[in-house]
Symmetry: C2
């Protein structure tokens, strides 16, 4: 089970290896949003995203025998880089399985942190078979991206830091992909401030959490089209979903245009780079999706990994829909 | 004269109205630069640049009579926005004179801070005549962009904060446009740590400070072509030049390509937006222009105001010269 004690333990285990990221505020953003927003800047985290917290917690909790056999992860995104860097820190061998059409920049970044990258064909190979093959090489431990209590507890440490630094928050707003960040952050937040309302934010085109919450069971959607690549899991996790049901005051959705507008505001006014998935909560707040107008709002800017081409395309005037 | 006392007074006068900006560090940058770099993030300053410090100090030092008559400034850049915002804070009327071909985004930003913008024809009108006309309307006080001891003292407060927070710096590296930031920052730095070496950085195409220092007198260059628009003054200031002569360990120059590379590193790795002029010192450090390899280096990231089109153009792959 995911408890506040597990999150306290996670913090003790990881604090030497991750940044305590700053909390920023902006008068310009607050004027637009009509509330006071406190940004927890996980885009400044090591490897560029909160994923470093969960990966570090999972890997540092391995037994000596498990460490010797190494770890494996499936990801072409922030989880891949986090597992690679956390493994290098810990002196553990990491193998990252990526689809063969993964962006070269992501492959290079992951290799840059010392991991071995193996490719699989997304259309022909299935992930189970790839996992069996890698495990067959020596029994590596799988580090899941969200459906693991140690991973969730690690992610929760960012909200623990935020709530210790900023008191009296009325709401906490975080992005929702597989649900690991929401699970960890909402458990930490409610333990430190029981009356806080926790909101998950998804792209409108990838609203599996919203649908699942409404139906009362995990709904699987078709592969979604959205620029928020961290929010592409097709259903909430098996372990994260009950925590969403218990802790969510609501699931909010935003359009890709609202995401881009929030990214541009954060970039051009606050001068910080946030990736599309990381901008989901800021987009929800800016576009007025929070009902009941909370006064003080915590927002997790979950990551900042965007490549130059994508960024140039997103901010170019042709993409300015305003 | 510009003294440390004047900078202490400036801090007392302005601290309520400007941000104490954070100092950031980056393992990735340090690995590339082969030294420990401490970034003073004036890109997070109000109105997006250190200029807010000097403008606020000058305007808050006005007499009651002067305040009633308002202020005027010539600028289409960060100084314009700083004078506009500092005036609004202080309840003082501001008129900003801009060339009629100034970018619309800059005009709108300045008006957004409540200033009146008047245009002049850069080819036909001379600035003296425009100034006389505005002054004729009621005796407004001119706020100069750099050649003024109160303005310089205000700019110096950013280095004072940096040197109080980070001890034992071997070098301080700042951009050089008209020389106001270098003057204030070097006087503050040397008062707090007499053995620190202060470097000014210019674009190679706008090396008026380098030429002036070599010749021992102020050299005026032709209007330079560079993306670092804050470094386009054609000669060092009359009052700032003697301070450059006294305090500079050297003037370093970087190419526009080196500036773009530094901007991209700061954006894509540190996740912070720095404008071309603001990236001059980071470019000098990254491209190995600091001789004698100082161990601990303070770098002022002086501003973050870039419009979306320019940024998209700079980071697009076609501009990647590597």
């Amino acid at each position: 089970m995911l408890t506040i004690d597990l999150i306290h333990e996670a913090r003790e285990r990881i604090y030497r290896y991750v940044h305590r990221t700053p909390v920023l505020t902006s008068r310009a953003f607050d004027e637009r949003a009509r509330c006071s927003v406190f940004f927890k800047c996980e885009n400044f985290q090591r490897a560029g995203a909160f994923k470093m917290r969960g990966a570090t917690n999972r890997i540092r909790a391995l037994t000596e025998e498990e460490r010797a056999r190494g770890v494996v992860a499936f990801s072409s995104g922030n989880h891949a880089q986090a597992v690679a860097l956390a493994s290098r820190d810990a002196g553990v061998r990491a193998t990252i399985a990526m689809p063969s059409d993964a962006p070269r920049a992501k492959v290079e970044a992951t290799r840059g942190y010392g991991a071995e990258v193996v490719f699989y064909d997304r259309l022909k190979d299935d992930r189970e078979a790839v996992a069996r093959e890698i495990a067959g090489r020596g029994g590596a431990t799988l580090v899941p991206p969200y459906d693991d209590y140690l991973v969730m507890a690690g992610q929760g440490t960012c909200a623990m830091e935020l709530f210790e630094e900023v008191t009296d928050l009325d709401a906490l707003v975080v992005p929702f992909g597989g649900g690991g960040l929401f699970a960890g952050a909402s458990v930490a937040a409610k333990a430190l401030n029981p009356r806080v309302q926790c909101f998950a934010v998804e792209p409108a085109a990838a609203d599996d959490a919203r649908q699942s919450l409404a139906k009362g069971e995990r709904v699987k959607i078709a592969p979604p089209e959205t620029i928020a690549d961290g929010a592409r899991p097709q259903s909430p996790g098996e372990l994260t979903f009950p925590i969403l049901q218990k802790n969510a005051a609501g699931v909010l959705t935003v359009s890709d245009e609202e995401i881009v507008e929030a990214m541009k505001f954060l970039l051009l006014r606050l001068k910080i780079l946030v990736e599309p998935t990381g901008a989901l909560p800021a987009a929800a707040v800016l576009s007025g999706k929070l009902a009941k107008n909370p006064r003080r709002v915590g927002v997790v800017l979950s990551g900042g990994n965007v490549d130059a081409d994508t960024l140039a395309r997103l901010i170019a005037p042709a993409n300015d829909k305003r």
